[in-house]
């Protein structure tokens, strides 16, 4: 077993680290205040190929061969260090592109890949609480409403995951309302509501048991990326807190040297490092089509969600009063932390329910 990065992975990490430190971190505070991503995000993200790197090369994208979840996880660790909201926009096209390539008809592929090549974003939503009503007689009809979908306000389509259905729904089929969130504020969140919308057959990727299987796959990709980005946020929180603690003096010494503060940082660092290994392993299993990848991915997100919550709370604590105010970076991180745990449904609870049903 070799834990070292390949040359390509090291290069990718270094490139994204520069992007994170130079651009994302510069944009993040204002994007958070305005609840809006800067225009440069889309041009820069486009230059880096992030919106189409899961779209096949012969369809206008950059994917040559297999998509690598391991590289994506490494990238998530870096982008998450920059800004959770901006990272979510940069990453949003991956699940839809992979899903369309795998389950979409050639017609759907050429339609949507062409759109994506022109800069379209596609959001993903999982109806984990069973809010939608799906009726399938002659045609499949969707009604009901999903409350908070990141990238939903900017997306041309939605990759919709439910118990019975995996489908791509165009924005024109829904009433879309922008939603203000507490964290990931620049993430272009929206609610999508459907009034008995009939889905054309070519927009349906899977139904019935096949849909459940496809959903599981898609969620496992999302879980890996969410876990990696969560750990990126946690890493940023502890980095900021560490730097601050070295500067800040109370009682005649740097607060970084009080043992309770040392331990606070140390515990978080250990947790982040351990979870990083789990995420990377889940990604590597996914790349090898190992059936346990799904379970690993779910555990990784569960763990990373806990860790990022803890790390960001602790970072605010280390900053003291400055942690509580918006001039310093960590209160934003504390707000940003919370989406990772609950997006697409709570991973811990999902596993409890699955085990109870004897699935595992």
């Amino acid at each position: 077993m070799n834990f070292a990065m390949t040359e390509e992975q090291a290069l990718l990490t270094a490139t994204l680290r520069r992007f994170t430190e130079k651009e994302l971190r510069t944009w993040a505070p204002e994007a958070d205040r305005q609840a809006q991503a800067p225009e440069q995000l889309f041009s820069k993200g486009g230059d880096l190929g992030l919106f189409v790197d899961a779209v096949p090369e012969d369809q206008g994208g950059l994917l040559d061969g297999r998509f690598e979840h391991l590289s994506r996880a490494l990238r998530g660790l870096e982008l998450g260090r920059g800004c959770a909201a901006l990272a979510s926009l940069l990453e949003c096209n991956v699940e839809p592109a992979l899903a369309i390539a795998r389950w979409g008809s050639p017609a759907l592929q050429s339609e949507l890949f062409a759109l994506m090549a022109e800069g379209a974003l596609i959001a993903t939503a999982h109806d984990s609480e069973g809010r939608l009503r799906i009726e399938a007689s002659e045609r499949v009809q969707v009604s009901g409403s999903l409350s908070a979908i990141p990238a939903g306000a900017k997306a041309s389509h939605l990759l919709l995951l439910t118990d019975e259905l995996v489908a791509l729904v165009p924005a024109s089929a829904a009433r879309i309302e922008a939603v203000e969130t507490s964290g990931w504020r620049a993430g272009a969140w929206a609610s999508w509501s459907f009034d008995d919308h009939s889905l054309p057959a070519e927009h349906i990727l899977a139904r019935g048991p096949a849909a459940r299987e496809a959903r599981e796959q898609i969620l496992s990709w999302a879980n890996i990326s969410l876990a990696a980005r969560a750990l990126g946020v946690a890493t940023a929180a502890i980095e900021y807190a560490t730097a601050y603690a070295q500067e800040r003096h109370q009682f005649g010494q740097a607060i970084a040297d009080f043992e309770s503060i040392i331990r606070l940082r140390d515990k978080n660092e250990t947790a982040i490092r351990a979870a990083r290994l789990l995420v990377l392993e889940a990604a590597s299993l996914a790349d090898r089509d190992d059936p346990t990848a799904v379970d690993h991915a779910s555990r990784a997100r569960d763990l990373a969600g806990d860790i990022v919550t803890r790390a960001t709370i602790d970072a605010v604590q280390i900053y003291g009063g400055y942690g509580f105010v918006n001039d310093y970076p960590v209160e934003k991180l504390m707000r940003d932390a919370r989406a990772f745990e609950v997006l697409h449904g709570n991973a811990a609870f999902q596993r409890v329910l699955m085990r109870r049903q004897g699935d595992n």
Binding site: S128, A148, G323, F324
Partner: protein, 404 residues
């Protein structure tokens, strides 16, 4: 035994404050959080109802004006500590930011009540009368913390230089509650650096004094209905009669520390109020929630987390009541007060955090009550002595050492 010890007065206050929090505070909480604005209208009506900002000065009354009347001679146990506790839990249950807006002036009243001369008390009361030029009720601020001095208040840089019968104040204060709007400030400054901690004294500074410069207001994670701002002193001349205690001997910082000890149970119980609010919201939601046809509450994964929350809330509330009860009985309560505050802060963090996770995507939306409570809760582990500082105090009581 009921925590209110079958005390009809405490029970009455709880009912009254709960009704007030529910009907008056809750409906406007989200708006003031989103707008980051002080609830001036509410503060005006509250002051007309007798929830006076300066009632603490009146030793014969409780924090709630008439409600505390009936306090008797000094040798009998008081109920004021518990009375404050009972009221503060309900108000914070309504909204911790608004509750701080309503009670924040108390932070300044406490030192005046404890250390002030009769003349100073009268001066303070006078400054707090009526409304300011914006028509707002008057508020007061307690300015101790500085940009470089939070936990370790012995390093105060604000100076008070004697000049004739005046002191000249220079320095900067950071994170001051009501710092922008206050009609009167209690300011801590170093009168004589050679005296060290003994040289630190409090000064009453009214808003009209030249050289008092209210600074920028902070944008905050939580308790946004309470104003937090910097305050600057630029050659601000304060008459010596406005030095707290005036010519009486002072323990310097020691007095200040005692003052902070005395407010900790009240701070702790506000965290309990937030935790309870989040817990009740969650419980209500879970009771009506079905998952694939089975009640959500039938899942141990959910139910045991509820149990955990309730345990911690109850334990925290007991600690706060115990600490206040000890103060009412004039028993040394430093350790209990620190335990109460530190434990309650943790509880509020845990309960609101878990509640967000259990509610899922709905609680990510800005202005969702639980999301707000999560943001509000964090301050309780920071101000009035951080969680680390409380543990330092508790441990020192046990070991006699200041651990580093």
């Amino acid at each position: 035994m009921d925590l209110l010890h079958n005390n009809p007065m405490l029970q009455g206050v709880r009912q009254m404050m709960h009704a007030y929090a529910k009907s008056t505070i809750r409906p406007i909480a989200a708006q003031h959080d989103q707008e980051e604005s002080m609830p001036w209208e509410l503060m005006k009506s509250a002051s007309m109802m007798g929830m006076s900002q300066t009632a603490l000065l009146d030793t014969n009354k409780g924090a709630l004006g008439q409600a505390g009347a009936g306090e008797v001679s000094d040798d009998k146990p008081k109920t004021m500590g518990r009375l404050q506790i009972v009221a503060a839990e309900e108000l914070a249950w309504g909204c911790a930011g608004i509750s701080l807006a309503l009670a924040g002036s108390g932070l300044a009243c406490t030192p005046v009540a404890r250390m002030g001369t009769e003349e100073q008390k009268a001066h303070f009361r006078e400054a707090m009368k009526g409304v300011d030029d914006k028509g707002h009720v008057k508020v007061a601020a307690m300015a101790l913390s500085e940009p470089s001095t939070g936990s370790d208040i012995s390093g105060l840089a604000t100076s008070a230089r004697k000049d004739g019968d005046h002191y000249v104040l220079n320095g900067h204060k950071q994170w001051i509650t009501n710092g922008q709007s206050a009609a009167v400030y209690v300011v801590w400054a170093q009168t004589d650096a050679t005296l060290g901690r003994a040289g630190v004294r409090g000064f009453l500074v009214t808003r009209d004094l030249v050289g008092l410069v209210p600074g920028r207001k902070e944008v905050k994670l939580g308790i946004r209905a309470s104003e937090t701002a910097q305050v600057h002193f630029e050659d601000c001349r304060v008459h010596e009669s406005m030095m707290l205690g005036h010519k009486q001997p002072s323990a310097g910082l020691g007095d200040t520390k005692k003052m902070l000890d005395s407010t900790r149970p009240v701070v702790g119980i506000q965290a309990v109020g937030i935790a309870r609010a989040a817990y009740e919201f969650l419980l209500e939601r879970i009771r009506g929630w079905e998952l694939h046809g089975t009640p959500m509450a039938g899942h141990q994964h959910i139910a045991f987390q509820l149990a955990e929350m309730e345990m911690e809330i109850e334990a925290s509330r007991h600690l706060c009541h115990r600490a206040a009860w000890m103060a009412d009985h004039r028993l040394e309560n430093v350790k209990m007060a620190s335990m109460a505050k530190a434990h309650a802060a943790r509880t509020a963090e845990m309960v609101t955090s878990k509640a967000m996770a259990m509610l899922g995507e709905e609680a990510l939306q800005a202005g969702h009550p639980v999301e707000k409570w999560y943001r509000d809760a964090k301050i309780f582990d920071i101000f009035e002595g951080t969680g680390q500082i409380q543990r330092r105090i508790i441990a020192k009581q046990a070991t006699g050492l200041n651990a580093t």
